[in-house]
């Protein structure tokens, strides 16, 4: 009985984590699938979202759940500007140049944030009291993050499936040239895709600020976790990223219980290396490797 409840709780907890992580992984995978860019600065979008929400809460006194649209809007704008620049620059053709450029962007962003905000650990103090739903006991903020995250994922897939914007995104991912020939403004949609990915990462950042702690260098942690998830599913595959996020969330939750906390931090890296060593293009392996 104990065994079952313990693991039931761990898996349910992993699903909550997976929902938050999915927001980051799907954005990263979407940007690769549509723009062909591995965005090494994706973790910084999470950080910027978290600090936007924190700023809106602590300086303007806005309710933490209402900071979500604010940080998503801000990150959409930031992402769109970066995406606009990235997809239009002739110098950034191929795989490595954009990777190097976003690596530089990531370094500049977290270092500037560290100087501006100081490296202190911060968090939004909201819904901290523990509640029990079913057999899971956790802070109410976890359940709030789960519900909001799931809502956003559903909205995201509806947008992708039924709106003109979503159809344009899917058209470009399938065949860029043909999409352009059909009258889609490819570069504009690509820039907007960047904005969309950044907004999703910003949403995750907002929830991280509520649930855990935030600090300027947090981006690398989320980037490496998102890489692990995306690699599980194969770069550019959205169902793969979605599945990868939940596999990873459950593995992390159970892993922290089975191993020590510090050892569980090795998990994302071990997963990336193991999966790639066995299958060079991820488990689902949708996109090409070059």
């Amino acid at each position: 009985m104990d065994f079952l409840t313990t693991y039931g709780e761990l898996i349910a907890f992993g699903i909550i984590l997976g929902t938050m992580y999915a927001l980051v992984a799907i954005g990263l995978s979407l940007i690769f699938g549509v723009c062909g860019i591995v965005n090494v600065a994706h973790g910084e979008f999470v950080m910027l979202g978290a600090f936007t929400a924190y700023g809106a809460w602590s300086f303007l006194g806005i309710n933490p759940l209402l900071t979500l649209p604010i940080s998503m809007a801000v990150l959409f704008a930031i992402g769109m500007v970066i995406g606009h620049f990235l997809v239009r620059s002739v110098a950034l053709r191929g795989l490595m140049p954009p990777m190097m450029l976003t690596f530089g962007l990531s370094l500049a962003t977290w270092n500037t944030a560290e100087v501006l905000f100081t490296p202190t650990f911060r968090s939004i103090d909201y819904l901290g009291e523990p509640i029990t739903i079913g057999f899971v006991t956790a802070s109410a903020s976890y359940f709030a993050a789960f519900v909001v995250g799931l809502g956003l994922l559903v909205i995201f897939f509806l947008v992708l499936k039924f709106t003109a914007f979503g159809k344009a995104i899917r058209a470009i991912a399938q065949n860029r040239d043909l999409a352009q020939a059909c009258g889609i403004n490819v570069k504009r949609i690509e820039a907007m895709t960047f904005g969309l990915g950044a907004a999703l990462a910003g949403a995750c950042g907002t929830m991280v600020a509520m649930v855990w702690t935030i600090y300027p260098q947090m981006g690398l942690t989320y980037l490496s976790k998102a890489f692990a998830m995306v690699v599980i599913g194969g770069l550019g595959s959205l169902p793969g990223a979605f599945l990868g996020a939940y596999i990873f969330g459950v593995a992390e939750s159970v892993g922290t219980h089975v191993m020590t906390t510090r050892m569980a931090q090795v998990l994302p890296f071990a997963l990336i290396v193991l999966i790639l060593a066995v299958r060079r293009r991820g488990l689902v392996g949708a996109a090409g490797d070059e």
Partner: protein, 328 residues
């Protein structure tokens, strides 16, 4: 890489082309003598700066040895350096081997590590390779701090090491830098180097032409790791203290990459120029920008990718100011 054949070579380039080998050799001799006698002439603070410059030159050149020539961009380079640091320090402190032996031991352990991960990792291409290496470096850092390795690494509390003095570290680093640059030069004109360049340009075609791509990549990977590990082991004695965050600091991945790109990927002299110039810039940035120095470097990297993706050396070769030789 390819150069047009129907373009007339400017006169200045022909003169420079002949003059450079002679003047290059003379310059090299002068620098070699200066570098050797430097500790006798200059103040310790200058030797310290010279040492750091050599450290980054050797790191950039060793990174370029594998990534610049093979096109496999290694984002987890610091794993080799950090493992070399830990191996060297543990061997010196716990096994009580001599300082010089501990430097070489660090290199060997790092090379062994590269040999172990090399076969599966080098099958992965493009972005996936870079991501996997980044994961290996971060994983190594976290692993060094866990309780499983604590008996050896002392976890987060780190290891203090008092070995050798600045002059010894300086000469060791000078010898290593000379070794790395000389190996790059020999490699660039050898069959092995050409095979590696063939892998970079078109791996499938190289394979089809009879190049054993696996062996070629693996050899360069291991040699690069050996040099990086040795550099790490020397630098650990310079730092006097290592802990996971210092040994696996991401700046040891980022700086050599930026330096190699600045000078010119896949060239012999490029990483030397890049290491020399940018270490001096970084010293300046550290003095004048303080905590913003990572930002400055991030911006420099972005600028390089946008406006000078081929680096200084390739640009100079195009302008006819340097001979178009693979040895440079």
């Amino acid at each position: 890489m390819s150069e047009p054949h129907n373009v007339r070579v400017p006169v200045s380039a022909r003169i420079m082309g002949r003059a450079v080998p002679a003047s290059g050799a003379a310059l090299l001799l002068i620098y070699a003598v200066l570098a050797l006698v430097a500790p006798l002439i200059f103040h310790a603070s200058w030797i310290s700066l010279l040492y750091l410059t050599l450290y980054f030159i050797s790191l950039a050149a060793a990174w370029n040895f594998f990534s610049g020539f093979s096109g496999y961009i290694n984002f987890g380079y610091v794993a080799f350096i950090g493992i070399g640091m830990y191996a060297g320090v543990i061997a010196y402190v716990d096994l009580k081997i001599s300082v010089i032996a501990s430097f070489i031991f660090g290199g060997f352990v790092s090379a062994l590590f590269a040999a172990l991960i090399g076969y599966p990792i080098l099958r992965i291409r493009g972005a996936y390779f870079s991501i996997a290496m980044l994961a290996i470096a971060e994983g190594a850092r976290v692993l060094a701090g866990t309780e499983y390795l604590e008996p050896f690494t002392r976890g987060g509390s780190g290891i203090a090491v008092l070995a050798g003095d600045l002059v010894l570290q300086y000469y060791a680093m000078l010898a290593l830098t000379a070794a790395v640059v000389a190996s790059s030069m020999l490699m660039a004109r050898s069959r092995f180097g050409l095979s590696l360049i063939a892998v970079r340009e078109d791996e499938a075609a190289a394979d089809g032409m009879g190049v054993n791509t696996t062996i070629v990549k693996l050899t360069a990977f291991i040699i690069s790791a050996f040099f990086a590990g040795t550099a790490g082991a020397i630098h650990a004695t310079f730092l006097h203290y290592i802990e996971p965050f210092a040994a696996f600091d991401i700046k040891y991945t980022m700086l050599p990459i930026i330096m190699a790109i600045f000078g010119g990927l896949g060239t012999v002299v490029g990483p030397v120029i890049g290491g020399l110039f940018l270490e001096l810039v970084s010293d300046y940035a550290w003095l004048h920008f303080g905590r913003m120095n990572v930002t400055l470097f991030g911006l420099v990297l972005m600028g390089l990718v946008l406006w000078m993706p081929d680096g200084v050396i390739v640009r100079l070769k195009e302008l006819g100011l340097l001979p178009k030789s693979r040895m440079i």
